[in-house]
């Protein structure tokens, strides 16, 4: 491991990669602060730039920096404007915004930055410990287990979608999977489902889909619902210091939430959003009675908890991506797509084949956190000026960047028409409360899922691999349970609410 860390340090501390981290964090903070634009949209917009860098380490470092910066920027707009740009920072606004209203905006930002820094750094250390362990286990997996593991990942994503949403999330996953089958695959050498259209021969482009699913609906929502884009002058930010007592009181919160957030982040489907809400709830419940009253009115513990948890969870979500090649969230799915475009296949072989990529990413996470603390925090009063940019100028630019992203990726104007078409569909789906992240995850995993499925079918001459390999069977049973349990529990809860006695 020490050797790996050294390789990582060497790669991450090259001038180019340091610039990537700094640039990524700044861009991420800058755009993440704009209300309504989440990390997924920003990363989707940044992908063409990252891909044309050509160097996978640099690209991944840039995108990871953007990711961190976006989360940090999101918490800034939650604190200053009560307008969270990202679902993962909604819990931050519970206590952050009351603090800002009391004139303690500077203090709130500092606490948020320190909590994020600690969460992210502890997360990076845990990642360093757990990722190699997990990937050495994963090396024992065959294609059958990979297939089963991906099914588990996809069903977990659906299972975490919430009550009444499981069928919709599965539907979206399946839609993503069937979109992945369009075009000519390497496996069969024949075009499928192209309806005779030449433009579909190579399948749908991942960047176009990512833009259409995330960036475009966000922008359209900003247009349709002006109240969502609360731009305007924020209150003055001054006095960034916190006292020793305050630091002492948030230290245990930060410690607990780093661990909890990290492990929630590792689970597929449960990302920063669940981690931050759960972190807030847990800290409120275990706080002494007197402090419990302060939660929601500007408690520093209530601010530190979700901030630590969401950053630790972001780091945690890299574990399944880097070790198994299975993304657990929309953001990591986009990162996976970018990596595949750069000819890197994340998975257990990544540590063996490209150790410099693996370790450089981990080290640069740490550097990214440091940069957010020492560079972005002092700059926040200036970066916050972006909140004053009028939306009449902002929105055309967001739309233009989505168009450019899709065009640069494919160099094809038809792609832009596809982008608009998919964007309209995605907006309608969001109206109807269908989750969009599963669609993209399904689309990205679709090719790999089918490859592994076909390989196992060929090795075992049929579907007997399902019962002949106990681990595959076990994983598939887990996948079924994940899908069935939430609706079963909801049904039972309803039955109980209706006064029907439990069967057992």
């Amino acid at each position: 491991m020490l050797e790996g860390i050294m390789i990582g340090l060497q790669t991450a501390f090259s001038l180019q990669n340091l610039l990537m981290v700094i640039g990524g964090c700044l861009i991420g903070t800058f755009i993440g602060m704009l209300p309504g634009l989440g990390p997924m949209s920003i990363i989707a917009i940044m992908i063409p730039v990252a891909i044309s860098l050509g160097d996978p380490s640099a690209a991944l470092i840039l995108l990871a920096g953007v990711y961190y910066g976006a989360i940090f920027g999101g918490s800034t707009s939650s604190i200053l404007l009560n307008a969270p740009g990202v679902a993962g920072t909604v819990a931050t606004s519970f206590d952050g915004y009351p603090m800002a209203r009391d004139g303690k905006a500077g203090k709130a930002l500092t606490i948020a930055a320190i909590a994020s820094f600690c969460g992210g750094s502890i997360g990076a250390i845990l990642l360093m410990i757990f990722a190699p362990m997990l990937s050495s286990v994963a090396l024992l997996f065959h294609s059958a287990e990979y297939f089963a593991l991906m099914v588990v990942g996809l069903s977990a994503i659906a299972a975490f979608a919430g009550t009444g949403q499981v069928a919709k999330a599965i539907m979206m996953t399946l839609l993503g999977l069937i979109m992945a089958t369009v075009g000519e695959g390497a496996l069969f050498n024949m075009p499928r489902f192209t309806m005779g259209l030449m433009d579909l021969q190579s399948g749908f482009a991942f960047i176009t889909l990512a833009m259409a699913m995330f960036a475009l609906p966000e922008a359209l929502y900003l247009v349709m619902d002006p109240s969502r884009s609360k731009t305007g002058q924020s209150s003055d930010i001054k006095d960034l210091r916190i006292t020793k007592d305050e630091a002492k009181s948030i230290a245990p919160v930060v410690g607990r939430q780093s661990l909890q957030g990290f492990f929630i982040g590792v689970l597929p489907g449960a990302g920063a959003t669940i981690a931050s809400f759960l972190g807030y709830a847990v800290e409120r419940n275990i706080a002494p009675e007197k402090e419990k009253q302060e939660f929601g009115k500007g408690s520093i513990k209530g601010l530190a908890a979700p901030e630590t948890a969401n950053n630790a969870a972001c780091t945690g979500s890299f574990v399944p991506l880097l070790t198994l090649g299975i993304p657990g969230s929309g953001t990591t799915a986009i990162l996976l797509g970018a990596l595949i475009a750069l000819n890197v296949t994340p998975g257990p072989r990544l540590m063996v084949d490209d150790p410099q990529i693996f370790w450089a990413v981990i080290i640069s996470m740490y550097i990214g956190n440091l940069i957010l603390l020492i560079l972005n925090l002092p700059l926040i009063p200036y970066i916050a000026k972006v909140l004053a940019v009028p939306r009449n100028f902002l929105i055309p630019f967001i739309l233009f960047f989505t168009l450019m992203g899709a065009y640069i990726g494919q160099n094809n104007a038809t792609e832009l028409l596809l982008l608009v078409g998919f964007g309209i569909c995605a907006t309608i789906l969001r109206f109807a409360d269908y989750p969009l992240a599963p669609l993209l995850i399904g689309f990205i995993l679709g090719g790999m899922l089918e490859d592994n499925f076909s390989r196992s079918m060929q090795l075992y001459d049929g579907i007997s691999f399902i019962w002949e390999r106990p681990m595959t069977l076990g994983l598939l049973v887990i996948a079924c349970l994940l899908v069935i349990l939430p609706s079963y529990r909801a049904r039972r809860a309803r039955a109980r609410a209706a006064g029907v006695a439990d069967g057992d």
Partner: protein, 164 residues
């Protein structure tokens, strides 16, 4: 019927068409030696279509019920609010994007992009013409430079009839 179930019905239709192609039409053109393979190009799509149709039926028939009313969730925008939304502006902007897609090659990057940015602001109600044109012009120049020179991707700057 609520919007989400109508969409469920549309998705069900998509899966049915997909399933029809996978089960009945795709295998016709399969080479004889491929038929000995345990896996056909249509195998995976067949599985997906069955799962998709089951899932679609669950949504359309409303078998899975939600515990909490949708209004409790502030992030969900109920489609009944549609009337309050500025659909016209959104539609015009989408039309503008289509126009941009069609004009990008023939009109060249600079004219198309400046036009797009200015028209976009105009649709949103901006009337400070000089500021708009200045901002759009500078942004277009910077982006063109970045894409063409830094990233090395060809973007035709001027209209087709002016060469290059």
């Amino acid at each position: 019927m609520a919007l989400d179930r109508w969409i469920g019905l549309i998705l069900l239709g998509i899966f049915a068409a997909y399933g029809y192609a996978a089960w009945f039409t795709m295998d016709g053109s399969l080479a004889p030696f491929m038929r000995r393979n345990p896996i056909w190009p249509s195998t995976f799509p067949k599985v997906l279509s069955v799962l998709g149709i089951i899932c679609g039926l669950i949504i359309v028939l409303g078998l899975e019920k939600s515990d909490k009313p949708r209004e409790e969730n502030p992030s969900v925008i109920v489609y009944r609010q549609l009337k309050e939304f500025k659909l016209g502006q959104a539609g015009l902007l989408l039309g503008l994007m289509v126009a941009y897609a069609l004009l990008l090659r023939p009109a060249g990057f600079i004219i198309a992009t400046v036009g797009f940015l200015v028209m976009g602001s105009v649709i949103l109600g901006e009337r400070r013409w000089i500021t708009m044109i200045l901002v759009a012009g500078i942004a277009t120049g910077v982006v063109w430079y970045l894409v063409q020179v830094v990233l090395g991707i060809f973007l035709r700057p001027l209209p087709a009839f002016m060469g290059v």
